[in-house]
Symmetry: none
Subunit: 225 residues, 2 copies
DNA sequence: CCCGATTCTGAAGAAATCCTGAAGTTGCGG
DNA sequence: CCGCAACTTCAGGATTTCTTCAGAATCGGG
């Protein structure tokens, strides 16, 4: 899962990023709205944490832009205390949640989790595709009831595929979502190959079909009912 | 277990906190409703002790807010006058118990315990997982009937796992629930490692299975039937 | 059917994460 | 004030996971 943190107070931004990284989120940071917009245009995020009191504009404008372009990211508004107005405006504009400063990082985590779950899973924490099922709460994957032990990258990979069922995802997008934007232009996809190989092997050996289709020259497609 | 004490009479508030800390609760204090609301927004509590006669507003409003936001904390209303009105209003609004001043601290403890038990365990004070059982009333843990002596942290750790059976809990979350501090993102988890090691050792030596699974890169999971 | 581009594979080195025992510190009861 | 139990810190080692790499297999266009 990939987040964008829009916050100009560096120490807070870093704190959030560092905490959320521990929770296995991938975090990008932006400390101006300009930068935020650039990042949002260039990358795909699962949730955006948006401070609406930066100095180079009004954060609600970003939110408005997002919603006009019907982006699918979740948005959590962050604002200094006392501005109930912001809360109302934010939620009216389609933010998914609201958090007043100062807040506790565990609270932030809980909200992020909730927003992503609501967006992606529409309530449940269980994904099923015939014999294959993924429990995002217990972080387990099983085939016909039998547990399959996946490493972190394998699990993240499978989850990313599952969220994009039926769509072809490019290796760039995969790299982007599992590693972030810091892997040089002429990237080599060796690790993707390796992790996909290992993931496929584990699932096949557990008795699952191979739902991960390679699309030559394009990427991969998770082809499950 | 983490409590919030909302009470403006400092000596009473301190007394409650100090007593409940001895009972191994983690206590935060607030002496205005403002502060109380801030804390409630930012932290997760298991139970809130709410005096409804503070000077900056009406405690019942907080209760109303809580219930509207469908928070899961338990709430115990505390009121100075022996006014039946408050009791009725409070319970109608969804408080879990009511206590009239003056009261004995042991009485308070009993109620807190009961409320938490009701919330978390829906009735029992005994958690059983095959040969392992935890008695939250007696604060004892036993394996096949034989008592296992756990230190405070070990017990809290086990209880936290038990409450989150089947879910992966991050080390961040553990740190927050057992220590309460923020300890930021770049914390070091040495003490968690140590306490888990000791807890495991005691349980294993007593003849229990190792229900505490390490989930590499994620945290731990209590895997019990 | 051939050839370059792309993808897959297995193995091994590198890195991250976790565990452990022991030593140091704190806090509380006597 | 002392002593003991609990807690924390520390450093090394063990384990798991990630990345790299080279060669084999596969694909699609000409």
């Amino acid at each position: 899962m990939k987040l964008l943190i829009v916050e100009d107070e560096k120490s807070l931004s870093d704190g959030m990023a560092s905490y959320l990284k521990q929770e296995n989120y991938l975090c990008d940071q932006a400390d101006t709205y300009r930068m935020a917009l650039e990042k949002i245009e260039s990358f795909e995020y699962d949730c955006i944490l948006l401070d609406i009191n930066l100095h180079d504009g009004n954060g609600l404008d970003i939110l408005r832009t997002l919603k006009e372009e019907s982006k699918t990211e979740g948005v959590i508004i962050i604002s200094a205390r006392n501005s109930l107005d912001d809360k109302v405006s934010g939620l009216e504009l389609g933010a998914d949640d609201y958090l007043a400063k100062p807040f506790h990082l565990s609270e932030l985590r809980a909200r992020v989790e909730a927003v992503i779950r609501r967006k992606k899973l529409a309530g449940t924490s269980l994904l099923r595709y015939n014999e294959l099922s993924i429990d995002t709460q217990g972080r387990t994957v099983s085939v016909q009831g039998r547990l399959v032990e996946l490493t972190r990258k394998e699990y993240q990979l499978l989850l990313y595929f599952a969220y994009n069922k039926g769509r072809v995802v490019s290796k760039n997008a995969i790299a982007e979502h599992l590693w972030g934007d810091d892997m040089g232009g002429s990237a080599n996809y060796d690790f993707i190959y390796t992790h996909i190989k290992n993931l496929r092997k584990k699932l096949l050996e557990a008795g699952s079909q191979d739902y991960i289709q390679s699309v030559y020259g394009m990427g991969y497609k998770f082809a499950a009912p």
